[in-house]
C-alpha cells in the first residue's frame, strides 16, 4: 500500500484546504478513501454521529500535480483510512504560502499520513515542516460499510436559498431552540421553523426553484401527482444543520436538499469540482 501526492499550485492548495476545513467542521473522525482518480471523505450514519452521514467526492486531478497510489491489492486498488480531518486542517492552515505540499502514507510509530510543507525562507535552503497525522488503515472486509449512499425516495426536492442568508438565520434560531423544522414544497417555497414555549419563529423563502430529477419508476409518478403546495417537512437537530452551513466558506455552484417527510433531509452541495452529500435524520 503506497500513497504519494503533491500540490504545487497555490490556488489548488487553497481550494483543497477549504474542502478539508469544511469536512473538519462536519465530522470529528471520518474515512478517507483513495482511488487512482478520486478522493472520498466518508462518514457513515452511526449512532455516535447522531445519525448523520456524509459523502464527499473530489477528483484528484483538480488538486494534485502528482498523485500515485497503490491499493491493498491489484484488483482492489483502493485505500481506506480513518483519520481526524481536524489534524489535516491544522497541518494545511499554515501552509498557504508554501512552495510545495506533499502528502504521503508513512509508517512511523503507527501508520501516518505525513504532510510535508516546503516553505519559502530567507536562507538558501527551504524551511520544511512535517506533520505526521496518525491514521488507521481500514481492512478490506469492512469496505462494504462505506458504500455511496443512494438518493432517497424523497417527497420534495428544492434548491437552497443563498447559504449565507440561511446560515445567519439558522445561527440565530440556534439560540432559541434545539431543533428546527425544514419544510418545502414543489412550488419553490421553503420555510425554516422553530417553536418553543415562549416563541415560534418562521423564516419564509420563495422562488427557490425545484431541481428536475430524472428518475424511473414510481418515484417520478409520486412527485408528479404531488400537490405543489403541500409541504414536506422534517424536524432535525439544529446544531447539525448549523455545522453544515458553517462549513461552507464559499457559496456553492449548486445547493439543493431532498426532504423525505419526517424521515431524513438529504443535502447535495456541488462546488466546482467537489461533490458533497450530507444526510441529517429527522428527530423522533
Amino acid at each position: 500500500m503506497r500513497f504519494r501526492a503533491k500540490i504545487l499550485d497555490v490556488a489548488c492548495l487553497n481550494h483543497f484546504t477549504r474542502v478539508i476545513n469544511t469536512i473538519a467542521k462536519l465530522a470529528k473522525t471520518c474515512t478517507l478513501r483513495l482511488t487512482p482518480d478520486k478522493l472520498y471523505f466518508i462518514l457513515t450514519d452511526k449512532v455516535a454521529n447522531g445519525g448523520v452521514s456524509m459523502w464527499c467526492e473530489l477528483s484528484q486531478g483538480n488538486f494534485f500535480d502528482e498523485f500515485q497510489m497503490e491499493g491493498v491489492a491489484a484488483e482492489h486498488n483502493e485505500i481506506y483510512l480513518e483519520l481526524t480531518p481536524e489534524n489535516l486542517s491544522r497541518a494545511l492552515k499554515t501552509a498557504q504560502n508554501a512552495k510545495t505540499v506533499k502528502i504521503k502514507l508513512t509508517n512511523k510509530h503507527c501508520p501516518c499520513l505525513t504532510v510535508a510543507v516546503e516553505l519559502p525562507s530567507l536562507a538558501s535552503s527551504s524551511r520544511i515542516v512535517t506533520h505526521d497525522i496518525p491514521v488507521a488503515v481500514i481492512p478490506r472486509r469492512l469496505w462494504n460499510d462505506f458504500k455511496e449512499p443512494s438518493v432517497p425516495d424523497f417527497d420534495v426536492s428544492i434548491y437552497l436559498p443563498v447559504l449565507k442568508t440561511m446560515k445567519s438565520v439558522v445561527e440565530r434560531m440556534k439560540n432559541l431552540s434545539n431543533s428546527i423544522v425544514i419544510e418545502a414544497n414543489l412550488n419553490g417555497e421553503m420555510n425554516l421553523k422553530i417553536e418553543t414555549d415562549l416563541v415560534s419563529v418562521t423564516t419564509h423563502f420563495k422562488d427557490l426553484g425545484n431541481p428536475p430529477w430524472v428518475s424511473d419508476g414510481d418515484s417520478q409518478n409520486s412527485t408528479q401527482d404531488r400537490d405543489p403546495e403541500t409541504m414536506a417537512e422534517a424536524r432535525v437537530d439544529i446544531k447539525k444543520l448549523q455545522q453544515l452551513l458553517a462549513g461552507q466558506q464559499v457559496n456553492p455552484t449548486k445547493a439543493l436538499c431532498n426532504i423525505v417527510s419526517k424521515r431524513i433531509v438529504h443535502f447535495i452541495l456541488l462546488h466546482e469540482d467537489v461533490y458533497l452529500q450530507y444526510f441529517i435524520p429527522a428527530l423522533a
Binding site: R90, A91, S124, R127, I128, V129, H131, D132, P134, A136
Partner: protein
C-alpha cells in the same frame, strides 16, 4: 549600563546593610539619582533621613509606553503576580509561574524613562520592592492599540508611607487616568542562572522564531528544540509519555543554520520547554525587533532566552525537561553529556537516564523557599532515595520517573526530577552546589 551593573554588584555584596534608624545610608548612591529630599540636582552626600527618603518615581513617554505595556503582557503569560523593584540599574519587572519552572525579568534602564528616581532605601536599608496582582496591572495596559494612540505619558510612583502604587496615564484631550494599586511587600525574586555556563547558544531574529512557532497549535504545551549535526535546528511538539502516540499528531519544523545569526552548539542536543511561556516573550521580541538569544545546556538544566538593548534587558528562564527518552538519543550519540556533569554528583551514577539535581534549599540561606508543588524542597530520607534508585535500576524502559520516586506529587513534567544517587551524594555533603539551583529566593545572581 555597565556603570549601573557595577553598582549593583557592590550593593549585593553588602548583604548586611546597616539596619537602623535615620542616619547616613551606608549604601553607595549613583550621583544620577535625584534626591527629592535635597530638592536639587546636586551630588548626593549620602545623607538621608529614613523617613524622608525619596519615593520611587518613573515617567515613561512616547513610544516607550507601548513597550512597557507589551512587557506587562509578556509577563502576564508567566505568572499571576508582577514583582516590581526600582533599582539603581533601572526598574525591574519580574514574574514567576506557580510551579517555578518559568521566570522572566524585564529590566528597564534609567535612560528608558524621561524621569527615573529609584527612591532611597527604607529604615532598614532595604530598597523598596513589591508585588502586585498581575491581573490588576495588566488591566491598565490591556489595550495596546489604545495605549499607542491615546497615552502620551505614564507615571509610576510610590510613596512608601502610602499603601498604594500609583500608575497614572496621561492621555489625549487632557484626560488623566490614575490607578491606585494595592501591593504587597515581598522578598527578592531572583533566579539563579548564568548564561556563561550554558554551553550552547542560538541567536536569531524574533521573526524567524515567530514564523517557526506559528505551525504549532496555540494550545500546545511543550516543544522540543533540537540541534542536530550540521547545525540543523528543529522544533517539534513534545508528546507526553502518557499520551497515546497513535492518537497524536506530531509536527516538526527544520530550520537551517543560516536562518540564525549565531549557532554555537558544540554537540547535538535536544531540550524541551514550555511553549506557552516562550510565546509571550516572542511576541514582545517581535515588536521590539531585537534578536533573541537562546542559551541552553543539557536537558534538565534551565534554558535562558534573552533580549538585550542599551535601554532594556529581558531574560526568560525556563526549566527544561529532564526526560531520558528525549535525551537518550543525544546521549548515545555522544557520551559528552556526562563529561560536563560535575563529577562529585554523578561519579557513582551508572544509570542511563539523565539526572538533574533537584532544587534544594541552600543551607547558607536562612530562609527556606516556600514549599512548591513542583520542586520538592525537602530531601527525602535516605531510605526512600535508595528505594528510588533500586526501582529505577530495575525498570528497563524509560518509565515515568515520577513513578520511581515515592511521594512525589503527580504528573507535572517539569518537576520530574530524578532523585536517585544524586540525593545520596547530596546528603553526604553539607551544601549542595548552588549552581544546581533553578530558582531560589534571596540569592545573588545576575538578572
Amino acid at each position: 549600563m555597565g556603570r549601573g551593573r557595577r553598582f549593583a554588584r557592590e550593593v549585593l555584596e553588602e548583604p548586611g546593610v546597616a539596619a537602623g534608624a535615620a542616619g547616613p545610608c551606608s549604601r553607595p548612591h549613583t550621583p544620577r539619582l535625584h534626591c527629592a529630599a535635597a530638592g536639587k540636582k546636586t551630588a548626593c552626600t549620602g545623607r538621608h533621613e529614613a523617613s524622608g527618603c525619596a519615593a520611587m518615581k518613573c515617567v515613561v513617554v512616547g513610544g516607550n509606553v507601548k513597550v512597557l505595556g507589551k512587557a506587562v503582557h509578556a509577563l502576564s503569560r508567566i505568572g499571576d503576580e508582577l514583582y516590581l523593584e526600582p533599582t539603581e540599574n533601572g526598574l525591574s519587572l519580574r514574574a514567576v509561574n506557580s510551579s517555578r519552572s518559568a521566570y522572566a525579568c524585564f529590566l528597564f534602564a534609567p535612560l528608558f524613562f524621561q524621569l527615573y528616581e529609584a527612591g532611597g532605601p527604607d529604615a532598614h536599608g532595604e530598597l523598596f520592592r513589591c508585588k502586585i496582582l498581575m491581573k490588576t496591572f495588566l488591566a491598565i495596559f490591556r489595550s495596546l492599540p489604545s495605549l499607542e494612540k491615546t497615552v502620551s505619558k505614564c507615571l509610576i510612583s510610590l510613596n512608601p508611607r502610602a499603601s498604594r502604587l500609583v500608575v497614572q496615564l496621561h492621555c489625549k484631550y487632557g484626560v488623566t487616568k490614575t490607578h491606585n494599586l494595592s501591593f504587597q511587600e515581598c522578598e527578592l525574586l531572583q533566579a539563579i542562572f548564568d548564561k556563561q555556563l550554558c554551553t550552547s547558544t542560538l541567536c536569531a531574529s524574533a521573526r524567524v522564531l515567530v514564523d517557526a512557532v506559528v505551525h504549532f497549535p496555540v494550545t500546545l504545551a511543550e516543544v522540543t528544540l533540537g540541534v542536530g549535526p550540521s547545525g540543523k535546528v528543529s522544533l517539534r511538539n513534545y508528546v507526553d509519555e502518557e499520551t497515546e502516540p497513535s492518537k497524536t499528531m506530531v509536527t516538526e519544523l527544520c530550520l537551517s543554520e543560516d536562518e540564525f545569526q549565531d549557532v554555537r552548539v558544540p554537540q547535538e542536543t535536544q531540550i524541551t520547554f514550555c511553549l506557552k511561556e516562550f510565546r509571550g516573550l516572542l511576541s514582545f521580541a517581535e515588536s521590539s525587533n531585537l534578536p533573541l538569544s537562546i542559551h541552553f545546556d543539557t536537558p534538565g538544566r534551565p534554558a535562558v532566552f534573552s533580549l538585550e538593548d542599551p535601554l532594556l534587558e529581558v531574560h526568560l528562564v525556563l526549566a527544561t525537561l529532564a526526560d531520558s527518552s528525549a535525551s537518550s538519543q543525544a546521549q548515545t550519540a555522544n557520551g559528552a553529556c556526562h563529561k560536563r556533569v560535575p563529577d562529585e554528583d554523578f561519579a557513582a551514577d551508572d544509570l542511563e537516564s539523565y539526572m538533574i539535581a533537584m532544587e534544594t534549599t541552600t543551607g547558607d540561606e536562612g530562609a527556606e523557599p516556600p514549599p512548591s508543588p513542583t520542586f520538592p524542597m525537602r530531601c527525602p530520607s535516605p531510605a526512600t532515595a535508595l528505594e528510588a534508585e533500586r526501582s529505577t535500576l530495575d525498570s528497563d524502559k524509560d518509565e515515568d520517573e515520577d513513578g520511581a520516586v515515592p511521594g512525589t506529587p503527580p504528573q507535572k513534567k517539569f518537576r520530574s526530577l530524578f532523585f536517585g544517587s544524586v540525593l545520596i551524594q547530596a546528603q553526604a555533603r553539607a551544601h549542595p552546589t548552588p549552581s544546581q539551583e533553578v530558582l531560589a529566593e534571596d540569592s545573588e545572581g545576575e538578572c
